[in-house]
């Protein structure tokens, strides 16, 4: 049903570390792979080897240039998928009840056999997290790999979302953000995790950890503890070199 639960038992979600992400798009590929081969309609591609390929993805990585007032510009890679919002506007607009938020873990899902493909939920989402599959005409979105995280046929270490499992940089973390003692909640508290577009009032569960302060190559001053040892030892030249130095200065 499209009425949002007043409270969920858990708030499963992702914590994405913008300091660590290297922008390799491995999470995009593993997401596409798992979610094409497993639950629900496959994530189709249109004209994949032609001149204008397009396709359905549940996770995409943007890259932004940020220019501080002083110092060099920074390049920040920015993975974006469903944030499993507490006040999910995509759920309440759904006319059929296909979209819903689970009471037990807070995951926002689409029941594809009820979806009429009207696209209103994609319009209601500020984050572009929902994409209509052009082959099946149903709405696709991140399921937080609901078919992995509880799947006892998988080894314990694989029971996390495919994007988290594959990330080579350790930039993606999965856990219960409703439990203040969980590792992800601790990480958010420690690093000052942020909501995307908070002014939309969606209360996202997924959190983004801001990039740490960067080193700055334009810093002057001591760059090396050995630097003092490299100071010139004979500042005042004598003899022939001294005469040459003075003669050249006068020119």
């Amino acid at each position: 049903m499209t009425e949002l639960p007043t409270q969920t038992e858990k708030k499963l979600g992702l914590v994405i570390d913008l300091d660590t992400c290297v922008g390799c798009h491995a999470c995009v590929i593993s997401c596409k792979g798992w979610n094409t081969e497993n639950y629900g309609a496959p994530l189709s591609d249109q004209d994949p080897y032609g001149a204008a390929p397009t396709g359905t993805f549940l996770n995409r990585v943007h890259s932004y240039e940020v220019q501080p007032e002083t110092g060099p510009a920074q390049l920040i890679h920015f993975p974006k998928s469903c944030l499993h919002c507490e006040d999910a506007p995509c759920v309440t607009v759904c006319p059929t009840g296909a979209s819903y938020k689970r009471v037990e873990d807070g995951i926002v899902l689409v029941n594809e056999s009820d979806c009429i493909g009207c696209g209103l939920c994609a319009w209601a989402c500020p984050y572009g997290a929902r994409e209509m599959d052009q082959d099946q005409g149903v709405m696709k979105k991140c399921t937080l790999c609901v078919d992995r995280i509880y799947n006892e046929n998988l080894p314990a270490e694989d029971r996390e979302p495919a994007c988290v499992r594959t990330c080579p940089a350790g930039a993606r973390h999965f856990g219960d953000l409703g439990d203040p003692d969980s590792e992800v909640s601790q990480l958010v508290a420690e690093r000052g995790g942020l909501d995307l577009m908070p002014e939309q009032g969606t209360k996202p569960v997924n959190q983004y950890l801001p990039p740490r302060l960067k080193d700055d190559y334009t810093n002057t001053g001591e760059i090396d503890i050995l630097a003092p040892l490299l100071d010139p030892v004979a500042p005042d030249a004598k003899g022939l070199l001294g005469w040459l130095d003075k003669a050249l200065e006068k020119l």
Binding site: A124, Y127, G128
Partner: protein, 290 residues
């Protein structure tokens, strides 16, 4: 937003059909027999034609009946109910006029109220969306209702009422054209709030996630035609005012037909702009806003 022809036709035609039903329900006019049949057939062709057109943009229209289930939260579901209720009430009211030559006044008023509520329901599908600041405003339902009343009274041949209502609709549309451009910026949505990277400095979209296009860009970051927006706004307003002049001239059926066509063309142009000019906040992530 992508100005899909099916959605433009749906909102314009069903608005016109339900607008005509408002006036038929109020007994303005109150025809009987075969005349009543023609009036009601016209209203149903517009209203039902519009609703059928709306199903063409669905990915799985065979499941459309499921849209009746979520009326508690969904304006789209409420709109489905309101239109079905209105069409049923007006069918019974119309049957009384056509076959029994009897006008059930109270039923007509109820039908008119439901028709008005249906138009409001349609408008709220768009006006509810916080993600599209241009639509998320009280002028959106006011505009849908103004067009339904103006077009409905025009089709119903209520010339004196229609003159006032068409003037109001054109004035409201002009007000929207003049004021809506600033709404996105007024909400404070920027690439900095979208990415939360503003504390470091000025953010610029450096590289998009994909080299080609995608559903999001096609559906919500539509850019085509905006360069002609101002010219189209003037054309829309001229077409909306034209019927007023045509109706003030000595009455003839040709001029009346011209007035209806001009009004229809004006509303279609304005509705195209309603979609084409609407900016969705997701465009921020692609560096396509502000």
């Amino acid at each position: 937003m992508h100005p899909a022809p099916s959605i433009i036709l749906f909102t314009v035609l069903s608005g016109l059909g339900f607008g005509l039903m408002i006036f038929l329900g109020l007994g303005m006019p109150a025809p009987t027999g075969i005349n009543a049949f023609i009036w009601f057939a016209l209203a149903y062709i517009f209203a039902v034609g519009g609703l059928i057109s709306s199903t063409f943009h669905l990915g799985n229209p065979q499941r459309a009946l499921k849209a009746f289930t979520q009326w508690k939260t969904s304006w789209l579901s409420r709109e489905a109910w309101l239109s079905a209720i209105t069409l049923t009430i007006m069918a019974i009211y119309g049957a009384g006029l056509v076959f029994l030559e009897t006008r059930w006044t109270a039923l007509g008023y109820l039908g008119a109220a439901c028709a008005l509520a249906t138009v409001y329901g349609t408008s709220m599908i768009y006006a509810q969306l916080k993600t599209v600041p241009r639509w998320n405003h009280p002028t959106t339902p006011a505009m849908f209702i103004a067009y339904a009343l103006a077009g409905g009274s025009l089709l119903a041949g209520q010339v004196s009422v229609s003159l006032v209502l068409m003037g109001c609709a054109a004035a409201l549309q002009a007000f929207i054209f003049f004021t809506a451009d600033t709404r996105f910026a007024a909400r404070g949505h920027t690439l900095e709030t979208a990415t939360q990277l503003g504390d470091i400095g000025k953010v610029r979209a450096f590289e998009p996630p994909h080299t080609g296009t995608n559903y999001l860009l096609h559906e919500m970051v539509h850019m085509i035609g905006r360069k002609h927006a101002q010219k189209l706004q003037i054309i829309a307003l001229l077409l909306l005012v034209a019927p007023i002049i045509l109706l003030l001239l000595p009455f003839s059926h040709t001029l009346a037909a011209g007035a209806v066509l001009a009004h229809l063309a004006g509303v279609l142009t304005a509705r195209w702009l309603f979609f084409a000019q609407a900016e969705h906040v997701v465009g921020l992530y692609y560096g396509k806003r502000g």
